[in-house]
């Protein structure tokens, strides 16, 4: 199933990037995102995007997957660009006539659009690269180092473990229903969606009881143990600082 197949975690390969401390990766990405969002202009976000995409390629993530991942945000970016160019701004760049509807492109609108678009491209590529370079577990450890409440992290760990199961379930039930012509016609379709959702929720309930039993039996008393981070490695810290400084300089130019 496609949703499952393009999950980033599936593409974690053992690369130099996945070996880097997740805390460092997370902080670097957050800092770069803030720079991208606060930058006026397009150069910085686009160079960040180029940098992140290169990283993805170096991790041997299939280009198709990266494209798939970025497709939706890129599409939104395109729409915003068109919207901004044609429907806002004053300085007319050119006009065209589409099926009798007059449209004018505006230079200032276009500039604003480009600005937002580049922000999206930069931000999305950073997050995509982070997703591919960080196994879930290390991400969780990094969050806990960032003082995200433990209860939140626990919920996230449960969710992550079971969402694959439920994705499979949803897929199975959906196919079974389709085979039985469950989605022919509006009424039947709506009903089938209802049953599908209900079954998933029910499965969630029943599985959670079993999970709790299994956990109690192995010493669960209400708190999940979370991996403790190792001390930072100086080389990685230095590398991170270098990237952030380089980013900062590019940002200021």
């Amino acid at each position: 199933m496609s949703a499952y197949n393009c999950f980033s975690d599936n593409f974690n390969k053992e690369t130099f990037l996945s070996a880097i401390d997740a805390r460092i990766k997370l902080v670097v990405v957050l800092v770069l995102i803030i720079m991208v969002l606060s930058y006026k202009g397009v150069m910085f976000p686009l160079s960040v995007a180029a940098f992140s995409l290169l990283l993805c390629l170096s991790m041997r993530v299939p280009v198709r997957v990266v494209a798939l991942r970025a497709a939706q945000p890129l599409f939104i970016a395109a729409v915003i660009l068109v919207l901004k160019t044609f429907f806002s701004g004053q300085e007319i760049l050119f006009s065209l006539n589409l099926f009798g509807i007059g449209l004018s492109a505006h230079a200032d609108g276009f500039m604003e659009g480009i600005q937002i678009t580049s922000r999206i491209i930069g931000g999305v590529s950073l997050v995509v690269a982070l997703g591919f370079a960080t196994p879930f577990i290390e991400f969780v450890a990094a969050l806990s180092w960032l003082k995200v409440p433990k209860a939140f992290i626990e919920i996230m760990m449960f969710a992550y473990r079971y969402l694959f199961l439920f994705l499979d379930d949803a897929h199975t039930i959906y196919n079974a229903q389709k085979n039985r012509l469950g989605y022919v016609g509006l009424r039947k379709g709506l009903h089938s969606f209802g049953v599908l959702t209900g079954s998933l929720v029910l499965r969630g309930f029943e599985q959670s009881q079993k999970t709790a039993d299994a956990m109690v039996q192995r010493g669960y008393t209400g708190d999940m143990p979370i991996l403790k981070g190792e001390p930072f490695r100086t080389a990685e810290l230095a590398g991170a600082a270098l990237i952030m400084i380089a980013g900062g300089i590019t940002w200021m130019i």
């Binding site: 945000p73 997703g131 879930f136 919920i155 996230m156 449960f158 969710a159 209802g194 309930f205 959670s208």
Partner: protein, 247 residues
């Protein structure tokens, strides 16, 4: 004006999936991103607190919430074909936990699902996480919960109440998303006309999608009622004397 809207709609709905309810990374400038975070945080914190209280005496409560988050995650990624727009879109799914475990915990559940989606699916984003929590979590959950409780108090049936909760929470989410989007990409434009354009652009997908979401929510509650009425009683969705009766 009308023609402008028309072109815009065509632009939006034609190629593949459109604006889902998620606001993707980078759309919001820093100031707005921060603002939505600040708005979202107290709700998430309240959700965590409430969950901690409830899980003190019930060791299976945290796993339950975690698994609900997984379920919401899956539901909010289900591609729903929207005939009027000729595309697929995703439901929000927040009304479901809102009815079952209350609005605050639902915000927490949504926040968790959104973070995983942002990181490993590039749906939504890190900097727009706050905004997405506010729309899909806070607004979605409180609308769904409020509507459901209100209708139940007016003696509406379980299915009907759930349907309306799902429908209205879906529409409320999309209104909020539109506001967030409009303010985020406004630039030098006036705010209200842009909001209008976005809202109208959403209509062909979101009107029918709301109905699907209503049907899902209603289907979920009726299925639970038929098969595990005891759970609904335990969660306080219905009262003991209502279990086993007719809808």
């Amino acid at each position: 004006m009308y023609s402008i809207v028309l072109v815009f709609i065509v632009l939006l709905v034609l190629p593949g999936s459109v604006f889902a309810m998620h606001i993707s990374e980078g759309i919001l400038p820093l100031n707005w991103a921060v603002l939505w975070f600040v708005l979202a945080l107290p709700f998430v914190a309240a959700g965590i607190k409430r969950m901690k209280d409830l899980s003190k005496n019930d060791l299976s409560f945290k796993p339950l919430i975690g698994l609900m988050a997984a379920v919401v995650f899956v539901i909010s990624l289900m591609p729903i074909p929207v005939p009027t727009a000729g595309t697929c879109s995703h439901p929000g799914g927040t009304a479901i936990p809102a009815i079952l475990v209350g609005p605050f915990i639902s915000v927490l559940i949504t926040a968790v699902a959104l973070l995983i989606q942002a990181l490993f699916f590039a749906h939504g984003g890190l900097s727009t996480w706050g905004a997405d929590i506010v729309s899909m979590g806070v607004v979605g959950a409180f609308t769904g919960y409020g509507i459901f409780k209100f209708l139940r108090r007016c003696n509406a049936g379980l299915g009907v109440s759930a349907f309306c909760a799902g429908l209205l929470s879906d529409w409320a989410i999309y209104l909020t998303t539109s506001v967030e989007l409009a303010s985020g990409i406004r630039g030098s434009e006036p705010f209200l006309p842009l909001l209008g354009k976005i809202v109208i652009a959403f209509v062909p997908t979101q009107l029918p999608l709301g109905i699907v979401e209503g049907a899902m929510t209603a289907g979920m509650v009726t299925l639970l009622y038929r098969r595990r009425a005891d759970l609904l009683v335990k969660l306080g969705v219905i009262k003991q004397e209502q279990a086993g009766g007719t809808l």
